[in-house]
Structures are given as C-alpha cells and as structure tokens.
C-alpha cells in the first residue's frame, strides 16, 4: 500500500501535507507524533474513511484491511453481544469467531454484552473482529489508549503473535512518543508532515525509561526518543553534543512549508 503526496485539509487547516508513505507485507510500522499531528487522519485515509484533498492512495488489488479504531462508543440503546459484533459485516461460523477471540486472548467472552467489557477486553474484541477478515494489513489506532502499562504490553504481545501467525503487515499509531514496539521494523514520525522515519533503537541502558515501564513487560517495548518541540522554520535541529543512537538510523526530511 502506498500514499504519494497525500494532503488532507479540514476547512482551511491543512492536517496532513505531502505525505509519502509505503507499507509492505509482513512489515510492522509504528507512527508516532504529538496530539493533533494528523496520525488518526492518516489512518483514516489508509482505510478509506477519509478522502485525501490531494495526492494518491494506491492499494494492492484485493487488499484486506483489519481496522482497530481508537475508541468505539457503542450507544447504550444498542444491545450487542460480542458474538453478534464479530458477525459484522459478514456472518461467520461460531468456530471461526471462537478462534479469533482466542487468538486475541479473550476466548471466554463471546456471549457477553459489549457494554459490559472492560477497556482492555473491548480493545481485544476489536482486534478479534479485525482478525476475522484475515487482513493483509492490520491497522491499529492508539489501540492501547486507556490501558495500564502491563495491559498495553500484553496487548502488544498479542499483536506480535498475530503478525507471526498470519504474516500480515501491522500499522500502529501511538502518541506516546517514547514507547514503541520492539518488533517495529520502522518508526514514522508525523507532525503534519513526515518528520523522519527509521528503525527504532532499543535504549535499554536508560534507567529512567525502565523505571517508567518496568522490566516485566516481556520486552514488548522499545524506546524511541524524538523531540517534537522543534520549530518548523528553524533551519537546523540538533540534539546537541552526544548523538542519540537513533539518529544514525534515521532519515530526516526537511519540513515543507
């Protein structure tokens, strides 16, 4: 799947401009960026929920996308069991539903009401639904929002297991700039435009990050440092003095005005 020169404007404000982006089969890519950097909009363009104002979106023919949205609020007036939810929009045999739930780690919840689920269970059910489409590309929009660190770590492990089993590409978004999966092949840094992209480096020696996320997360987290407080008009951005290991594997694009 490829985006070339994609821009999105809402009213007069350009949310995304000049985005070039490609994701290939089996690849895990994480998009990081501060709030309002256009991460969710980029994902909505990718899944076809938002038409770009300019540029082109190219999908491999027959590409199947599994989408796990940022947050899904089910109206209290709409009764919906987990099984029934998984049956949308295509009804599938009960065995397939059970398998998808088991793969997402919530095998016993099938007959519960969606409204009764905890935040973590809900996100896993969304993941199970995305898996039922046997996706070539799994798209997750801040899927761990509202989960505590152990909860999101185990969610990331479930996604990693899914990628290993299905061989699908995984595209994730995080606003937690310094937390990305160790399995990410590539990290794309977004702030209206693609600031930079590159392989994540494991900064295991930094005790302050370990203290933040603990060592009990099974190695699911890698740490990726990047400063977003730069001025787009400033000619040079330097981390100064000692270079971060990440800088060596990062391509820095000049921001476009």
């Amino acid at each position: 799947m490829r985006l070339s020169g994609v821009s999105v404007r809402f009213a007069r404000a350009a949310v995304l401009h000049g985005i070039d982006f490609t994701i290939s089969r089996g690849e895990i890519v994480t998009i990081v960026g501060p709030n309002g950097s256009g991460k969710s909009t980029l994902l909505r363009v990718l899944v076809g929920a938002q038409a770009p104002s300019a540029g082109h979106v190219t999908r491999a023919s027959g590409l199947s996308i599994g989408y796990v949205p940022q947050r899904l609020r089910i109206d209290a007036t709409l009764p919906m069991t987990v099984h029934r939810f998984l049956d949308l929009p295509v009804r599938r045999p009960r065995v397939a539903l059970a398998a998808a739930l088991a793969r997402a780690g919530v095998g016993t919840l099938g007959s519960r009401q969606m409204a009764e689920l905890s935040g973590g269970q809900f996100q896993r059910v969304l993941l199970a639904r995305a898996l039922l489409a046997e996706p070539d590309l799994l798209v997750l929009d801040e899927a761990t929002q509202g989960l505590d660190p152990p909860g999101s770590a185990s969610f990331y492990r479930a996604i990693e297991a899914v990628r290993d089993e299905l061989g699908c590409a995984v595209l994730m978004v995080s606003h937690e700039l310094h937390v990305v999966m160790s399995a990410s092949d590539r990290v794309v840094c977004l702030n209206g435009h693609v600031c930079c992209e590159g392989a994540p480096a494991v900064v295991s020696s930094r005790p302050e990050y370990r203290a933040l996320f603990g060592t009990g997360t099974g190695g699911a987290f890698a740490l990726y440092r990047h400063d977003h407080d730069h001025d787009h008009d400033a000619p040079v951005r330097g981390t100064g003095g000692e270079r971060d290991p990440i800088a060596a594997s990062t391509t820095v694009h000049e921001p476009r005005p």
């Binding site: 089910i74 109206d75 007036t77 709409l78 009764p79 949308l88 929009p89």
Partner: protein
C-alpha cells in the same frame, strides 16, 4: 372479513407497526428522533400539495417526505448543529403545509385526519398501499441489515469493510419516507415518530441483540395497535392517539420491569 371497518383498521395498524418497529430501532440507535419528526411533519406539506395538484396523497406525502429526508442528509452539520437544523426544517414544513392547506377549501376541515390519523376510515385500497409499503420497508431494512448495523456502530469501521456509510444513511432516509407515507393515514403526521421510537424503546431492556430488539419492538408495536384500537372503541377516544398511548404504557411497564429486574439481579449476586 375485510368488509368490517374494524378488521381493516386493525390490519392497517399492525401493518404500520411492523414496518415502523425495525426502522424505529435504527432511529433510536442513531439518535434520529428529530429526523423522523422532520420527515413526518413534511408529509403535511405533501398532503396539501397533493390536493393542490390533484395527485394521490400517498404519492404527495412520499415525494415531500423523501425530499425532506434527502435535504437533511445533504445539509449535514455544516453551519448549524443537527438538532437546530432539524427543528427548523420540521416545524417550517409543518407550518408551510398548514398555510398551503388553508388556501384549499376542501382540505381545511379535513386536515385533522392527516395530523392525527383516521384509521377507522381505512379502505381496501389504503390497506393494500399500507401493506405494500410496509413490506417494501421491511424488505429494504432486512436487505441492508448488516451494513446498516455496522454503519450505525462506526462509520469508520464500515468504510474499512468497504461499506459506504452515506449510502446506508440514504437507505434509512428512503425507508423513513416510505413509513411516513403509509403511516400518515393511521396515526397521523404528528404521531408517526412515536410509532417509530416508543416500541423500540420499550423493547430495549429485554433485548440482547439488535435482531431481538427489532423483533420485540415489532411485537410491542403490533400489540399497541390492537390494544389502542380496542381502547378507542370501548372508551370512544381517537384511534391514532390511543394506539400511541398504548405503546407509551408498554414503554412505562418495560421501564419499571427493567428496573425491578436489575434490582433483583443485584441481590442475587
């Protein structure tokens, strides 16, 4: 059997209830009650225009209700909040309809029949139109059921599955216009929204799935139609409002029963 006006009235009421209930579930889930009002009130303008141009009232109401539904869908939330926009359109359509009707000598005295329904005056041809329209609505909603549900849950999820939420919104608009056109004779323009949302709301506490809620709402609606008609005969009350009153009582009973059940469930735990 159809010779009896009572049998015809009962069949008309049940037909409208069966078409309105599943559609009404979507009106409730999508919080479209005002949208239903706007479409239904526009039907009064449709009645007036039908008399002015001597076309069938069903066609007139269908046409204007459809135009209103499409207008609302097209306007969207651009400059005003949706409820403001719908409030403006619903009441303007009603007011314009009443003003246009005042120019037509034949309609003036007759207008309350269209505002509140005249189910006891339903003829065989009306019955045929009601059941044909109801069947069309049920078929349309059943055909698009899965896509409608997903688009209701999340437009983005629908897009990711290759479903266009705007097309599903259009399906609902068409179905709503059809229900308005067939229900106006039975409960009248002012109370059509009640037939949509009251049975659905009454069914909610006792439903585990969307299908269960639609079926239960159909049952509640049909029972309200027959019960309301019976009460209207016994108490000599207007039939359309009596049907809505019966549905409202069912809603109140459901509310109380739902609360009690929740109460006992907590004790059982």
């Amino acid at each position: 059997m159809l010779d009896s006006f009572l049998v015809r009235a009962a069949l008309a009421g049940v037909g409208v209830a069966l078409a309105a209930a599943p559609l009404g579930c979507f009106v409730v889930w999508r919080r479209m009650a005002y949208f239903g009002d706007a479409t239904a009130h526009a039907a009064i303008l449709g009645v007036a225009l039908a008399f002015a141009f001597s076309v069938s009232v069903t066609l007139g109401t269908l046409g204007v209700a459809l135009a209103m539904a499409l207008l609302v869908t097209a306007l969207g939330e651009r400059t005003h909040a949706m409820d403001t926009l719908l409030g403006v359109l619903a009441h303007s359509a009603l007011a314009f309809g009443l003003v246009v009707a005042s120019f037509l000598s034949g309609v003036r005295g007759d207008l309350s029949a269209w505002l509140f329904g005249d189910i006891l005056a339903v003829r065989r041809t009306d019955l045929a139109i009601i059941w044909a329209g109801a069947a069309a609505v049920v078929a349309l909603v059943a055909w698009r059921w899965q896509a409608l549900l997903l688009a209701t849950l999340s437009p983005d999820l629908a897009c990711a599955s290759g479903i266009d939420p705007r097309r599903e919104q259009l399906v609902l608009s068409v179905a709503l216009a059809l229900v308005v056109a067939v229900a106006i004779k039975v409960v009248g323009a002012l109370l059509i929204t009640a037939m949509l949302i009251v049975p659905a709301a009454a069914a909610r506490p006792f439903s585990a799935t969307p299908e269960g809620m639609a079926l239960l709402a159909s049952g509640v609606g049909a029972a309200a139609a027959i019960g309301g008609l019976y009460a209207a005969l016994r108490l000599d009350t207007p039939a359309g409002p009596s049907i809505v009153c019966a549905a409202a009582l069912a809603f109140a009973a459901s509310l109380i029963a739902g609360r009690l059940r929740g109460h006992f469930a907590r004790y059982a735990d």
